[in-house]
């Protein structure tokens, strides 16, 4: 029988992994919706309105999934980690409170106007509501990343009787890893949505949906993807340098470096780290690579795992395999994104027969097909990145301040096990339903006629019919 600590950790990890999937989409999709709406207003081209109408549904669905899993999250601290709040509640509390007050209410109220107010409020107010929802999700991200980053690189507090007391709020908010983590997360969200848009549009295109809006969506997704991915790789590198300074044990685990302390550390492309023997098996590596990337010189020393073993043999570094591999999954996905987005743009750049550039027809079939599974690549990279970050923090919950085992609730293990199973079943079912509905919406959109007029009241039967179908009044088939 597993103990309550392990079960609580699995339950927490399952909940937050499920939660993060949806904010990752809504954070950036909010801004994309604003982009579609403004493009429509400036160009008057209805294809942008069609894009808005398609993606606003997915936004609403993702938002609901994000909200309900977020509410679950806010209870997790109390039900499973009371020790966390007892020790660092004075810091975590105000940050969470600010998130609720400045972000959650903003999005929750204006999403109503954004989704259902289109024909009820003046256009400027609707645009403003769209902006405020996007702004609210971004504020959410800011506050939660502040808290999370403080757990990684805490400062601005003093410990009195084992309880953290804030001494300097600016130092707490602008803790050393916060800017890197925030930007990296926002870019991750932007990339996730870029590839989602390109991927779903490519799927529609393959199904024979050749409407102008579909082509434009492929272009928009690819262009934003291509713009953001180099930034992300660059930010990731800076993030790594920051981590090397503040959490060297994490970097040692990411690099799979057991014992090299005198520079010339290779960059490991593949290996099976063996945690008992404390060495790598089947290693394939680039000589001096890690030293060059993290130290900008072939002889720069890199943190090694052996430095984090206490005299009495207690291991003070995180589990190596999980960190090592999830880091590689993230970076690998990042390079796949780079290749696919720039590769596709290179093909699109070639002129079509009529002399125009960016004709989707010019995209080779395999690339078009590759875009479809890549629709979910952002999810993969984001989860892998968070696993690197969070598991890399172990055995600490708050680096150097609080270890994970002293924060757990003493709820009986069988009880935690039963709720854990309950959550897993529900999450699996909902994830299945979510993905099926997105596919269904994409397939269904094929039958929509291109928009010819905007207002639903004067727009005649077609728009009316779409609206009715969306309410489920008329069966879709």
């Amino acid at each position: 029988m597993m103990d309550a600590l392990i079960l609580s950790r699995i339950q927490f990890a399952a909940n937050i992994s499920f939660h993060i999937l949806f904010p990752t989409i809504t954070i950036a999709l909010g801004w994309f919706l604003l982009f579609f709406k403004l493009r429509f207003q400036w160009t008057g081209d209805l294809k942008w309105m069609e894009a808005y109408r398609f993606w606003v549904k997915i936004f609403a669905l993702s938002f609901a999934m994000g909200v309900v899993s977020g509410i679950t999250m806010s209870f997790q601290f109390g039900t499973n980690w009371p020790g966390f709040m007892e020790h660092v509640g004075n810091i975590a509390g105000p940050l969470l409170a600010y998130e609720v007050m400045t972000a959650f209410f903003l999005e929750a109220v204006f999403i109503g106007i954004m989704l259902f107010g289109f024909s009820r409020v003046p256009n400027w107010l609707h645009t403003l509501a769209t902006f405020l929802v996007a702004f609210g999700t971004t504020m959410s991200t800011f506050w939660i990343i502040v808290l999370n980053s403080w757990m990684h690189t805490p400062q601005g507090f003093e410990m009195i009787d084992g309880v953290a007391h804030a001494t300097d709020w600016l130092a707490i908010i602008f803790n050393p890893s916060m800017p890197y983590r925030l930007i990296h997360m926002l870019l991750a969200s932007g990339l996730t949505v870029s590839f989602l848009i390109a991927g779903i549009a490519a799927f529609r295109y393959i199904l024979g949906d050749r409407k102008e809006t579909v082509r434009s969506q492929i272009r928009v997704g690819l262009t934003f993807g291509a713009l953001l991915i180099p930034l992300q790789i660059f930010m990731g590198d800076l993030h790594g340098l920051n981590t090397k300074e503040y959490q060297p044990a994490k970097v040692a685990a990411m690099e799979g470096n057991w014992s090299d302390t005198d520079g010339h550390t290779p960059l490991i492309l593949f290996a099976l780290p063996d945690e008992d023997a404390r060495e790598n098996r089947f290693e394939i590596s680039i000589p001096n690579g890690a030293s060059i990337i993290l130290g900008h010189s072939p002889s720069a020393p890199i943190p090694a795992l052996d430095e984090f073993v206490a005299e009495d043999g207690t291991i003070l570094h995180p589990p190596v395999n999980a960190v090592f591999w999830s880091f590689r999954v993230m970076v690998g996905t990042g390079f796949a994104m780079l290749l696919l987005s720039w590769g596709s743009l290179a093909f699109l750049w070639r002129r079509a027969e009529d002399g125009r550039r960016f004709a989707i027809r010019r995209l080779p079939k395999p690339m078009l097909w590759a875009l479809v599974p890549m629709a979910l690549s952002g999810w993969v990279a984001t989860l892998a990145g968070w696993y690197t970050t969070e598991i890399g923090r172990q055995p600490w919950l708050v680096t150097g301040v609080l270890d994970t085992s002293s924060a757990v609730a003493d709820v009986p293990a069988p009880m935690v096990l039963s709720t854990l199973i309950g959550y897993l079943v529900i999450y699996a079912a909902l994830l299945f339903a979510y993905i099926s509905v997105i596919i269904y919406l994409a397939v269904k959109a094929r039958h929509n006629e291109p928009l010819t007029e905007l207002t639903p009241s004067s727009g005649g039967a077609v728009v009316d019919a779409i609206a009715r179908e969306d309410r489920g009044v008329v069966p879709a088939e």
Binding site: T72, P82, I91, L96, M101, G472
Partner: protein
């Protein structure tokens, strides 16, 4: 920082208890009506009618639930020790509530976006989720009133509270529908309100009778002499409100429909009165009979910084919430994205 001569160790916990109480009250009223509407959906006559019911709460439910997040957040930040104690004791009912909230929250979206043949499934989940949430909340309320002790008697009491609160939610939900709907749906809502008001009465009555019996402290608090005189308005006002509600609901339909907001306002009044009674009973305890708000409060410097933000932000939140209710004022129309 003294306030009116009180040290911050006194007035800060008090202020936060008030803020938390305020958001619990707002939550119970606001999510109360939309959970109530959720529980009434199976009684809709037609699919159009059900769509209308859901449409009447569509723009509001997310913001309504955010008051729960704020309430739990305030409990967490202001009284962290109590938060841990309460939530780990109520571990299972909290789980049931969360599952309920998850199911109903996503069903809102899935029921209109999934393939039409699955709409019935999501309708059912919407109902089940609303019911689970309400029952779990009522159960937790009952356990809390009983001082979080687990015995056969307290569990029985909590179970009755679960049914009572659910009926209360169904009642305020029905009055919301009376205000927001027209024609046949409105007539049905009047009918539902007449039914569910009885359940609500039994629930409130039972808690009122049981409370003084739980402990000597509560007995003295309610039934000693000067207190009884101050408190008399609570039961009297409640009875007057009930009588008024009953009369307006049992009158001819047209008299209800011309003053369609009245039943909702009456229901709201009942909730407020019941809440004041509970707040009076528990103060100054945050965990009944075990821990006062002053013992459980976190460090003053953290509370000050939240309070500072709250003074600016909460009025703003109330402001734009009012804007949303104004935008969607009047009788409900079908929901469309464009």
């Amino acid at each position: 920082m003294e306030l009116l001569g009180y040290a911050p160790e006194i007035w800060l916990p008090f202020t936060f208890a008030a803020l938390m109480g305020g958001s619990i009250l707002l939550y119970v009223i606001l999510d109360g009506y939309d959970l109530g509407v959720g529980m009434l959906t199976p009684f809709a006559r037609t699919e159009e009618e059900r769509d209308m019911m859901v449409a009447s709460i569509g723009p509001f439910w997310d913001a309504n639930e955010t008051w729960l997040v704020l309430a739990v957040g305030l409990l967490l930040v202001a009284f962290p020790v109590a938060h841990g104690l309460i939530l780990s004791t109520l571990y299972l009912p909290v789980f049931v509530m969360l599952v309920g909230l998850i199911l109903r929250g996503v069903s809102f979206e899935f029921r209109v976006k999934a393939r039409a043949k699955y709409k019935g499934l999501w309708n059912n989940l919407f109902f089940v989720g609303s019911l689970m949430t309400s029952l779990a909340q009522g159960f937790m309320l009952g356990m809390y009133v009983m001082g979080l002790e687990m015995t056969v008697l307290t569990v029985l009491f909590a179970t009755i509270c679960a049914l009572g609160l659910s009926m209360g939610y169904a009642f305020i939900g029905a009055t919301w529908l009376i205000a927001k709907s027209e024609t046949s749906l409105q007539r049905d809502a009047i009918h539902w309100a007449r039914r569910s008001i009885l359940g609500a009465v039994v629930g409130i009555g039972l808690i009122s009778v049981a409370t003084p019996l739980v402990s000597e402290r509560l007995w003295d608090k309610w039934l000693s002499f000067p207190a009884m005189a101050y408190l008399a308005p609570l039961p009297i006002l409640s009875l007057l409100l009930l009588a008024g509600l009953w009369q307006s609901l049992s009158g001819p339909t047209y008299s209800v429909t011309t003053r369609a907001w009245r039943p909702f306002v009456g229901a709201l009044g009942l909730f407020v009165l019941a809440f004041i009674g509970l707040a009076y009973s528990f103060f100054p305890y945050v965990v009944p009979e075990r821990m006062t708000i002053f013992e459980a409060a976190s460090a003053p410097e953290s509370l000050i910084i939240i309070l500072f933000g709250a003074m600016i932000v909460v009025p703003t939140i109330l402001g734009y919430t009012a804007l949303a209710y104004w935008v969607f004022r009047g009788k409900t129309k079908t929901l469309t994205y464009y």
